[in-house]
């Protein structure tokens, strides 16, 4: 009988070959996990690229930082996890057996060695266990780790290369030169540059809005930034960009209206209307002014007479009201109050004054003037009762109320200045983009327009008139100088026009024409005579256009608008006319229409900046210059206007003109027709 022998421990002989397998397994697992991590990072990067294409990522997010970080970090984390994952010798043995067909020799031998008590029961069992161990060790020594665990790329590792390629394509394909025509590429670049500028403007505006706590402006700035980002990422072509910017302009307009409605004198014209109403009613009261010799119904701008009476005060108050001069109205009411307090006023005059105050109270309309109205009415009632003291006090209160309303109005106007800046910025950008043929031009135009805008800013409230300055590519024109005060000027521009421009003062409210780089011979603008005329601006043309209007532009609202024509002497000093004073049946010289030397479209005054840009590539167009020139065409004026309107419509249909701008052009023609 065989002796009971325990087999020699060949445990080490079994395990040693497995260490190599384990190390190799660990390395493969590390590569696998790192590949998984890198693949996840690549997928995230791809997602980020897609989101970026749709401008869904925040500003601070940088793709060029995120992509390498995501891939490397994913790979690194995966690698660490793979390295930390424990691999037991038994697992390695099982895998080796499976790969090399060892048929559980190693794992069985390991188990028999580790737990001999269960297996070494008798001599026969021990004999077979020893044989098994020897067999296992023999086979274990033949194990080659490279054969047991060959380096075989997992699908994750293989997928990395296609994933990288897809990522690169996603990044590069939209900008691949070969796939984009030069024209589209150029347009994309322009839109992109404009987008960058818009973002920069939005940043500045936002800072300002935050500093002044202007919520509306802040909102507009954010809209500007979003639009800028979309443009920067090339999500729209030039036409779409123009439309979007026009939409933004409209948004700003709406915001301004909203702001005006919410505070102060909702409509600066309220006082003016009240004044006219008052003057009319006072005129009807012959008795009131009967004791004022030589005076008729006071007219705006005329000096008041007989200021030593309350009736005179009333009249002056009417004047102030007509002029929208709230401060003057307040002063007059205070004077009246003082006079009532300090002088003897006859009962009859008190009654007359009371009557006049009644009318003043009735004339004062609008929510902001309600307090003043009540106090004026109370003063009238008091005077009617003979209570001068109360009447005087009520008048002072009325004056105070008017002052407050005025202050509130000024505050609102200050708030709206931010919106003005925003609109100016958008319009400048829009115009630059419209004009630009190359990305560089988009930038250079920007500089020019901004500079001009600055000039216009000096015109006081005529900030918008600065738009006119944008059009001067040649830098010769001086636009925006003659901004029409009080009429948020919409100055049209002629672009290097030969034609006559600067036909201000034809009673077209708020529309001043400009000739730029005119070849004309000295526009001979005369100082306007008409009231509320507009200023035309002569270009300082290369041929020495005199452009008188440059100086006359500062004429303010009361001074007549001056025009200076460039061009072929047709536009020589058109005289500013006040509305209604133009001679009927005017005709216009078909030769004197505005044409630029390049055959481009010279835009009449009254157009917004963006409009002109859209017309740059338009076919040759002509528009009537409403010059009261010496040469009179035999073509009827209306026909010429209609012809020009049709030509413009055709041109606009062929170009990317924003609807808002189309509306402006049509409005312009409407105004021409109406003025006639």
């Amino acid at each position: 009988m065989a002796t009971l022998q325990r087999p020699d421990s060949n445990f080490d002989a079994l395990e040693t070959p497995l260490y190599g397998v384990t190390a190799r397994l660990r390395l493969i697992r590390l590569v696998l996990f790192a590949s998984r991590g890198a693949l996840a990072g690549t997928a995230l990067s791809l997602l980020a690229v897609i989101l970026d294409d749709f401008a869904l990522l925040p500003d601070w997010f940088s793709l060029y930082v995120f992509i390498p970080v995501a891939i490397l970090l994913g790979g690194g984390i995966g690698g660490v996890l793979g390295a930390l994952k424990r691999i037991s010798l038994r697992s390695a043995a099982a895998l080796t057996e499976s790969r090399l067909g060892l048929k559980e020799r190693i794992t069985s031998a390991m188990e028999f060695s580790r737990d001999p008590a269960n297996y070494h029961k008798d001599a026969e069992a021990t004999l077979l266990l020893r044989l098994q161990q020897e067999d296992a060790v023999f086979h274990a020594r033949l194990i080659r780790p490279s054969a047991a665990v060959p380096f075989k790329m997992s699908w994750e590792t293989k997928a990395l290369i296609p994933a990288f390629v897809i990522l690169m394509l996603a990044i590069l394909l939209p900008n691949l030169f070969a796939l984009i025509s030069p024209r589209e590429r150029n347009e994309q670049a322009i839109v992109g540059q404009t987008g960058v500028r818009l973002i920069k403007s939005a940043d500045d505006l936002e800072k300002e809005a935050i500093a002044h706590r202007e919520a509306e402006t802040l909102h507009i700035a954010q809209s500007m930034r979003r639009l800028g980002q979309q443009m920067r990422h090339g999500h729209m072509d030039k036409r779409q960009a123009m439309l979007k910017m026009a939409g933004l302009n409209k948004q700003i307009d709406d915001a301004r209206k909203s702001l005006n409605a919410s505070g102060g004198l909702a409509n600066p014209g309220d006082l003016n209307q009240a004044g006219q109403q008052l003057a009319k009613e006072l005129a009807a009261e012959k008795s009131l002014f009967g004791n004022i010799p030589g005076q008729n119904i006071p007219k705006k701008g005329q000096a008041s007479a007989n200021p030593s009476t309350t009736s005179g005060d009333i009249k002056n108050a009417a004047d102030s009201t007509q002029e929208d001069n709230a401060m003057g109205l307040g002063d007059q009411l205070r004077k009246m109050a003082n006079r009532l307090s300090t002088q003897n006023v006859s009962p009859q005059e008190q009654k007359q004054t009371a009557g006049a105050l009644d009318k003043l109270a009735q004339a004062l309309q609008g929510p902001s003037l309600q307090d003043a109205k009540q106090h004026v009415q109370a003063a009238a009632d008091a005077l009617r009762k003979g209570d001068k003291t109360t009447g005087a006090n009520e008048l002072r209160k009325a004056a105070d109320s008017i002052d407050k309303a005025m202050q509130k109005s000024q505050d609102a106007q200050q708030d709206s200045s931010g919106l003005d800046d925003a609109q100016s910025s958008v319009q400048n950008t829009q115009d630059s983009m419209a004009k630009a043929q190359t990305p560089a031009q988009a930038n250079s135009n920007s500089g020019s327009s901004q500079g001009k805008s600055g000039q216009n800013g000096q015109s006081g409230k005529n900030g918008q008139s600065g738009q006119s300055g944008q059009q001067d590519q040649s830098g010769q024109g001086q636009s925006g100088q003659g901004g029409q005060q009080g009429q948020s000027g919409q100055n049209g521009q002629g672009q290097s026009g030969q034609g006559q421009s600067g036909q201000g003062g034809q009673g077209q409210s708020g529309q001043s024409g400009q000739g730029q780089s005119g070849q004309g011979q000295s526009g001979q603008g005369q100082s306007g005579q008409g009231q509320s005329g507009q200023n035309g601006q002569g270009s300082e043309g290369s041929n020495g256009g005199n452009g008188h209007s440059g100086s006359s532009a500062s004429g303010g609202s009361k001074s007549a608008g001056n025009s200076s024509g460039g061009g072929r002497s047709q536009g020589q000093g058109s005289t500013g006319h006040s509305p209604g004073t133009q001679p009927p049946n005017r005709t216009w010289d078909s030769d004197s229409h505005m044409q630029d030397a390049a055959g481009k479209f010279a835009i009449p005054s009254g157009n917004r900046a963006g409009y002109k840009g859209g017309m740059d590539s338009a076919p040759r167009m002509s528009l009537p210059s409403q010059t009261m020139g010496q040469q009179q065409s035999k073509v009827p004026y209306e026909q010429s206007v209609d012809q020009a309107r049709r030509t413009s419509e055709t041109a606009m249909d062929n170009e990317d003109i924003a609807p808002a701008d189309r509306a402006l052009v049509r409005k312009y023609y409407d105004s021409l027709a109406q003025s006639h």
Binding site: K103, T107, S108, E111, F112, E124, L127, L131, Q132
Partner: protein, 334 residues
């Protein structure tokens, strides 16, 4: 008799010698020969199922010739009585003239018993085999008689002639270690059969193993160690044949009425050990378990009506079970 390395090393050789000798008479059917020999060495019995004329009886007879042990053949018929198998007490007269009952052993008393067409006997007669197969003994008139070792039953049954047959009850089937399906020979095999059997010369097999050596080989086989994870795999296979068990695949749940008994698991391990030795190993591998599983389990799995209606066989159930567990093994190793 003690084991030594030489006897262990000769195991595979002896097995090969028997196979070679049988192969002299039997053409092809190597799986059947191997299966029968495994059953012999694993102390089990084998049920051969096949249509008539495939050489089942010849195989058994040849085996008895190769193994130097006693052989009896019992042709099962419906009128066969249990006593015809086990033997009976007969009235005999001794030399002194006294009459007394004397046990007359039946054909079961042999080392190799061929129960030909076992399903033709009545259940009563079939049951006479139960004790012999399980206990290696018979009891007649209250007296138990041990059967000689090795005791090895090879039963045959015809699957197509069902008239006048009595299908073996599950308890009877469970006593067979393997159920081997004898298939029709291939073209080359059939040609060789014709060549050997229609000529003048008759192939004969020589005796190569004694009963002693068979018992020694049985002992060696029993000592083959099996690791716990391999043993667990055998258990999982058996459990997977049980519907609604944790490891049962869908096909089991759908088509199986009863799974394999613990005897099935025993059969797997015992047969797998011999297969390991035949493969030159001293440990049982998953592969051994799975290789013997169809033969060891196909007659232990009872299908439901749905399976019978859809023509599902136990072999397809076992194949699916093995595939499922094999995939899990591979996944675990990776």
């Amino acid at each position: 008799m003690p084991l030594d390395e030489t006897s262990v090393a000769r195991f595979k050789e002896d097995f090969g010698r028997v196979r070679a000798e049988v192969g002299k008479v039997i053409v092809g059917q190597t799986d059947i020969i191997d299966g029968a020999l495994i059953c012999l060495l694993a102390e089990g019995h084998v049920l051969l199922e096949g249509v008539p004329g495939l050489g089942k009886t010849l195989l058994v007879r040849t085996l008895s010739q190769v193994l130097d042990i006693s052989y009896n053949r019992i042709q099962f018929t419906p009128d066969l009585m249990p006593a015809d198998i086990t033997g009976t007490n007969i009235l005999a007269e001794d030399p002194e003239g006294r009459k007394q009952f004397q046990f007359q052993p039946g054909p079961i008393f042999a080392s190799i018993v061929l129960a030909d067409e076992i399903n033709r006997a009545t259940p009563k007669t079939q049951s006479a085999m139960l004790e012999a197969m399980q206990e290696h003994s018979v009891t007649v008139a209250g007296k138990m008689y041990k059967l000689q070792e090795p005791f090895f039953v090879l039963a045959t049954q015809n699957p197509i002639e069902m008239d006048g047959t009595y299908p073996l009850p599950e308890a009877q089937l469970d006593r067979f270690l393997f159920k081997l399906i004898v298939t029709t020979p291939s073209l080359a095999e059939l040609s060789a059969i014709l060549d050997r059997t229609t000529g003048a010369s008759v192939s004969t097999a020589e005796k190569v193993l004694t009963s002693g050596r068979i018992l020694e080989m049985r002992q060696i086989a029993k000592e083959v160690p099996i690791a716990s994870h391999v043993r667990e795999h055998a258990v999982r296979i058996v459990l997977a044949t049980h519907p609604r068990s944790e490891s049962a695949p869908q096909i089991t749940n759908q088509f199986v009425r009863f799974g394999a008994s613990p005897r099935g698991a025993q059969a797997l391990v015992r047969a797998a050990k011999i297969r390991a030795l035949l493969d030159g190993r001293y440990n049982v591998a998953y592969e051994d378990i799975m290789a013997v599983a169809p033969a060891a389990l196909r007659h232990r799995v009872i299908l439901n009506f749905e399976a019978e209606a859809e023509g599902i066989t136990t072999d397809s159930i076992i194949r699916e079970v093995l595939n499922t567990l094999s995939a899990k093994l591979t996944a675990r190793a990776a």
